[in-house]
């Protein structure tokens, strides 16, 4: 990559005024660095990943609404977590977390456990108990 070819495309980095370092060569082929505001290829890849994530959140929402999953499942996706991350924060085994995805099990959970989930998701306990997303 030549120094003058360092891409200056629009990207999500602009929101926070971030520019990143790229390594590139000058006309003699000697390396130097330059700043980039973003690159089209990367933005597309990031957008695709975000779309993928949003689809998953939507699927999870539907699953909670039709009663096949508990609200924990939805909020886990919404916080971009997976079972491993959530299990880490809850100090519980993964299989226990997966069990809590079952609405039947979720309804029997004690308030302390639910409150802990709510705290991890950064929401109020009632948002977890009365699902309304």
């Amino acid at each position: 990559m030549k120094k003058e070819e360092i891409p200056q495309d629009r990207s999500k980095l602009e929101d926070k005024n971030i520019r990143e370092v790229c390594y590139a060569v000058d006309k003699d082929g000697k390396y130097t660095t330059g700043l980039s505001t973003g690159w089209e290829a990367k933005s597309i890849a990031l957008d695709l990943s975000m779309e993928h994530l949003n689809e998953q959140i939507e699927e999870a929402r539907q699953a909670v609404l039709n009663g096949s999953k508990s609200p924990i499942y939805y909020f886990m996706w919404k916080e971009k977590m997976d079972v491993g991350v959530l299990a880490g924060y809850m100090h519980k085994y993964r299989w226990k977390i997966k069990r809590h995805f079952k609405p039947k099990v979720f309804n029997k959970l004690n308030t302390n456990t639910k409150a802990k989930y709510a705290e991890i998701f950064g929401i109020e306990l009632k948002q977890l108990e009365n699902f309304n997303e």
Binding site: Y31, L48, M50
Partner: protein, 333 residues
């Protein structure tokens, strides 16, 4: 207020940047490409059976922490790594280091860094930054991928230091304990290059040049067996691993080119300078691959043989890298 005389230099990759800035603070004249090359940061691996964000686990770099450890070892610098169970103890240790005038590197989770855009904040726990001071309840942060220094409150930093999931940092803090007076850069560079050629030419299907070839075949397999939608998601994941903040472009290949030029000056070997041009070309090919891949993902219909072309391009890159590292190995003999 407690502030160290620490120079913040922006870098492409967090681990190199932290290492280079901490070494510089300890009086070693070193920059990012040198740390990267000595730490043998160039790599390629496809990890079978493992999924990351429901996509393939492809990495252009070795395990987090290895670059720093290898670079320290090869330069004869002793480092200490500490983990903590309690948040209070971890901050006591950090404050103690600041009082002693030690700049400490911290491993943190990206998800809890408020100065990054939301889209970049996912549960990735192997980011690195340096704490170089404290002002009231705020810690002064030198995050090497950022242009300028920033600060975090104790609560924010505590959340970032104790994130959970893969590579969970457990308050991980690291810093040099003894730094020698003189360094044998020649020896360190040779050892770094040797390790990289060894890795990239590994006779294993998933690693190095062979790994690239393996993934090139996988692209066609994914298209046949998982469908276009899933394949596109997988490709997007690979592009992000290759180009997203921290690689300096082209999956670290350009940083490695810069390292070879530094090495050619220090070792006084012009042939390494010549080889760096080949590395630049390989980096350019990776960039071209990423660009085509992103377009294939977006305009699904227009290019009917897009995936075949991507696969072919990758096979070419694999061949070039194999040749490159064979040449490099021969040069260093």
């Amino acid at each position: 207020m407690n502030k160290l005389d620490f120079e913040h230099r922006q870098s492409a990759h967090c681990e190199n940047g932290v290492a280079a800035n901490i070494f510089q603070y300890n009086g070693i004249n070193i920059d990012e490409p040198l740390v990267f090359g000595i730490g043998a940061g160039l790599f390629f691996i496809y990890i079978p059976f493992l999924k990351v964000n429901q996509g393939p686990a492809v990495s252009y770099r070795p395990m987090p922490g290895w670059i720093f450890s290898r670079a320290s070892r090869r330069l004869g610098i002793d480092i200490k790594r500490e983990h903590f169970r309690s948040i209070d103890k971890s901050f006591e240790a950090l404050d103690r280091n600041l009082d002693k005038g030690i700049a400490s590197g911290l491993q943190v989770g990206v998800y809890h860094l408020p100065y990054l855009p939301d889209e970049y904040r996912f549960h990735f726990n192997a980011h690195n930054l340096v704490v170089y001071g404290k002002k009231g309840n705020e810690y002064l942060i030198s995050d090497p991928v950022m242009e300028h220094t920033t600060s975090l409150t104790k609560d924010e930093l505590a959340r970032a230091r104790f994130t959970k999931g893969v590579f969970s940092p457990r308050g991980h803090m690291y810093y040099p304990t003894t730094v020698p007076h003189s360094f044998d850069f020649e020896k360190a560079i040779s050892a770094g290059i040797k390790r990289t050629t060894h890795d990239m030419l590994a006779p294993v299907p998933y690693i190095g040049a062979n790994g690239i070839k393996y993934v090139s075949k996988k692209i066609l397999y994914w298209k046949e067996n998982h469908g276009i939608k899933k394949t596109n998601h997988y490709l997007a994941q690979i592009i992000r691993m290759q180009e997203e903040i921290g690689t300096g472009g082209g999956g670290f290949r350009f940083i490695y080119g810069a390292f070879l030029q530094r090495a050619s000056e220090i070792l006084n070997r012009p042939e390494l300078f010549e080889l760096s041009h080949n590395m630049t070309k390989i980096g350019d090919d990776w960039r071209a691959w990423a660009l085509l891949a992103s377009r294939v993902c977006r305009n699904r219909d227009k290019e009917s043989d897009g995936y075949e072309r991507l696969s072919k391009m990758m096979i070419q890159i694999s061949k070039q890298e194999k040749q490159f590292f064979l040449d490099l190995k021969k040069t260093m003999k």
